[in-house]
Symmetry: C2
Subunit: 356 residues, 2 copies
Amino acid sequence: MEISELGEFGLIDRLAKDISPKNDSTVKGIGDDCAVISPTEGMQTLVTTDLLMEGVHFDLTYVPLRHLGYKAVMVNLSDVFAMNARPRQVTVSLAISSKFTVEDIEDLYAGMKMACTKWGVDIVGGDTTASMTGLAISITAIGEARPEDIILRSGARPTDLICVSGNLGAAYMGLQLLEREKAVYDEQVAEARRSGSKEQMEMLSEMQPDFSGREYILERQLKPEARGDIIDALREAGIRPTSMMDISDGLSSELLHICRQSRTGCRIYEERLPLDYQTAAMAEELNLNVSTCALNGGEDYELLFTVPLALNDTVAAIDDVHVIGYITEEDKGLALVTRDGGEHQLKAQGWNHLKS
Amino acid sequence: MEISELGEFGLIDRLAKDISPKNDSTVKGIGDDCAVISPTEGMQTLVTTDLLMEGVHFDLTYVPLRHLGYKAVMVNLSDVFAMNARPRQVTVSLAISSKFTVEDIEDLYAGMKMACTKWGVDIVGGDTTASMTGLAISITAIGEARPEDIILRSGARPTDLICVSGNLGAAYMGLQLLEREKAVYDEQVAEARRSGSKEQMEMLSEMQPDFSGREYILERQLKPEARGDIIDALREAGIRPTSMMDISDGLSSELLHICRQSRTGCRIYEERLPLDYQTAAMAEELNLNVSTCALNGGEDYELLFTVPLALNDTVAAIDDVHVIGYITEEDKGLALVTRDGGEHQLKAQGWNHLKS
């Protein structure tokens, strides 16, 4: 169905129809000038926002809309968890070009709702409008935490252990794989067009690349998970990290933020970087250095945090948490100790979309 | 200066450098995974968000970036006032294409800061990213109010008086004027190109259209003001409206929302629609029906609210507030009484960007 058949209000009614607030703190959801939230007594409110643009942050030739919706919400929830807080509400704004159908937008929304349901988050409002160009998605997430629980980037101290959850570089390798398959496909289509073979064109339209054995890295790229489970595990273990953030631009870039804001240096060990087998295999196949991918790949949405040295055994006992190094005095700089014992300065390369 | 010279983090540092939170409730502004807000005890939190796309919501050939920034913030503050609440914080997300310089973005930000300063609002975070196409601006505003002060759209009751602040249709006429001058200019440029006259081209590049006597309607389009002053005046007069919203899509469309959500009808009088002289003059010049412009023009950002009939004298005594009709039982429908005593059904035409 064309969106123009419904119009703006019709589309909003349709998207909103089975959204009902489940959180105690949500007083009023979609349908007025503002959403109304009732803060829990003694809690502070956390706010984070992201703007995703077609052609910069996602490529719809290989990203299904449902996954895109899921990811768009999840990356914002990840920012709330990274403050050691609980996400409660999101607002969702969409700018939609005429190439999308009502069913497309429902798919996108289905993914968003799935991510919200997973963490008990309400969609409480937003804006739906037209775009002359591609799709734009802006999500704002709102969470809450007791003031004493909130963890900033600035609290790391020398001798603190540097920890990461999960493993690194997988989402980046998934992206490389998708980009490669897209290039192969585009090439085949161009060739079929040149030869004018109708049969070949039909075959191509049916073709699906074989991703067997690479499911994990694809899932990491297409359907990342915010690590609220790690937040729970830390709480259960009685550990309060001294600093924390999520890894969206790559480990190097995020360590730079923590060290700059904490006025410290750091020392991490290449051999300790957590890697999945599929990440390493794909890196080898593409002739990339897997450590570089883990350091600078981005979109991991794992948690990076520091804990006092005394908690070494406690933190090491938590499933899926890895100690990769420690915090140093500021004048020591940011060092990566390589497998051969060499020392390199860490640089933030990351996802710098604005740099040419 | 090219944005690529600074990169994302450099640009954010530069934009954030003279932003320091002034609100007591702002605990942590720009610089971490989330902003942290400390809700005032006993208050609820209001959240609203808007996504503005180049080519749909604004045309940079005649909208200065500073005005655009001002307006982008103001329209969100207007939504907070429309709940009878106070805006406290905003987040600002920008997607920027390579045609913009650092100075352009500073201009845009200067306008945003001006709007924030006017109402004591802090910029507490956001996202800055690249765009492959035009400029996208997403703003989320956060406000607070005591639960008993919050006014929804759903509280209007039969016999309540319907009031609007300021006057209507002016922003729409300003837009028509700008669009007309743009068309004239484009035509002259095309002609100069055809004739190959270099002299004529130079003359055109210096030319500024004469807007004298139309300053008011231009300002209403380019630099709208959220009516926090009316919220203050109502409070001082001891009036609590039964329903309220701001007029962004046009009076007809907003009345439809209030009546639908309150399960009422309404009856408004054409002769009572508040109009500015410049609006009427421009409508006549363009051969448009001025009442239609006032009813459906949009972007007024005035307040539409209802008050109990008994408050007639009190509300009429407030400067710049006009009673334009009253609420009826639902089965009476939405009626406009024309100057000649005829009766028409009100329809929402409004700004339906998604309708072709």
